[in-house]
Symmetry: C2
Subunit: 269 residues, 2 copies
């Protein structure tokens, strides 16, 4: 855990070193590679938020899911998922969790600004796994692969599969399989099955429980990772489809799936 | 700008107050509403990352676009857009920008883990506008509306519309209109027009320039906001379509657009 002195060092160092590289857009230097900014490896070690992996202690998946469910009604899906994990780690560990601006990620709700793109629970779990395990610039792909594994599970699973201790509605909440990580598809499939409008208490409770379900899954995998027992099932779909893609091609294209331009077989010098 | 003492206070306060509310999942308390964690308003003011708006100084859009373009090749679209803005503000202001873990957002590239969901440039610009202007829990919707305005501009504009000083490829890069904020659609439309595969240098340079174009637009709007001259054109699409949606219904549904369940006209007690 950091001290106040370390934090002040972090800021001072980053401001001094930015002149050397970051602001000038000099990518890939030895200094940049070690941290979030243009810090040497030794310097970056004093900045708790810029050093990976972030310290992690195993959490109770059910307790995490309860927090995610309850906070959904204040922060929506994306930020409540982050909050469910980081609020507990802030209490156990302190920084970098305590000073992370979770609430600013409320915009992730409803698929970003209500545009129905990626479900906020999927955005939130990727933020959590990548902040804790670390980014590819730190030499690991595992945060991203765990995020991808959870998205595939989200697509394949009848959700919500978590029932909170205290529900906001009395009616039963149907479970549906989205086959997509997108909010529009996930919510649309559920609305069609449940015959409930977007603004209904049932739809909101459904999304609160979906967020709780994803939070539960995320902590299960992070706990396995902490124990050294996590073997990823995550993949990068672009390697399979030759385009950044979900893999559920016929859900939008019907039977007329276009073929992307393929790589040339001859290697250019 | 914060001092080391303030930061240490931030961490200590957050750990102490978490026991009062945040970890227990008590939402909507007066204490929670003022900051990222369970802090009172006075306490939250000492945490630079948990107080909105974040301090902002006007930036040069072209310089920002150059940084975004160059950093794309290290951080991909989402993180390079954040980096293009925050690296400059870290140099001018320090924290909360200097200690923000930008690199962990590299997973946003290729529409999150190469799943082709929301284009990382759109994720990145929303993170920037919401971190700087602040979230709805802080009483403002403007960060989210600015994010939505930029996504609509992204959909409607022939992109990339920014040409960097030093390109990574010699060939001309076609411009295409995506009509969608999704990576899969945006990249797919461009690949079909350019007849270039996903792994080609031209496709990568195209995405670097799209990121630069969005970075330019983001700083233009933030500068207008700083001058008190920003009047948002952003909307929340769910209010128009009764489902979280992009608005380009026929791009996936063809002529057979489903009708979402509509709100009941009678108000239940």
């Amino acid at each position: 855990m950091s001290t106040g002195t370390e934090k002040q060092t972090c800021e001072n160092l980053s401001r001094r070193n930015l002149l050397k590289g970051a602001v000038l857009g000099v990518a890939g230097t030895a200094a940049v590679a070690s941290g979030g900014w243009a810090l040497s490896e030794a310097q970056a070690k004093s900045c708790p938020a810029l050093k990976w992996p972030w310290p992690y202690e195993k959490l109770d998946p059910a307790k995490t899911a309860e927090i995610a469910h309850d906070e959904y009604y204040r922060l929506e899906c994306g930020a409540s998922l982050i909050y469910s994990v980081f609020s507990q780690l802030a209490e156990k560990i302190g920084d970098p969790y305590a000073s992370f601006p979770v609430e600013a990620f409320a915009f992730l709700g409803a698929g970003v600004d209500t545009w129905g793109t990626i479900c906020g629970a999927n955005s939130g779990e990727n933020i959590v796994t990548n902040l804790i395990i670390g980014p590819k610039t730190n030499g690991v792909e595992l945060g991203r692969l765990m995020g991808s594994e959870i998205m595939q599970w989200y697509c394949d699973t009848a959700l919500p599969d978590y029932v909170p201790k205290v529900s906001k509605v009395k009616a039963e909440i149907p479970k549906t399989v989205s086959s997509s990580p997108l909010c529009h598809v996930s919510v649309g499939v559920w609305m069609a099955a449940a015959k409930k409008p977007l603004g209904s208490p049932e739809r909101k409770e459904r999304c609160a429980r979906v967020t709780a379900s994803v939070a539960y899954k995320t902590v299960e995998l992070l706990n396995a990772w902490k124990d050294g027992k996590y073997v990823t099932k995550g993949v990068f779909p672009a390697k399979l489809y030759h385009i950044d893609a979900q893999g559920n091609c016929d859900q939008c294209h019907g039977t007329n799936v276009p073929s992307p331009p393929m790589p040339e077989k001859t290697v250019k010098s």
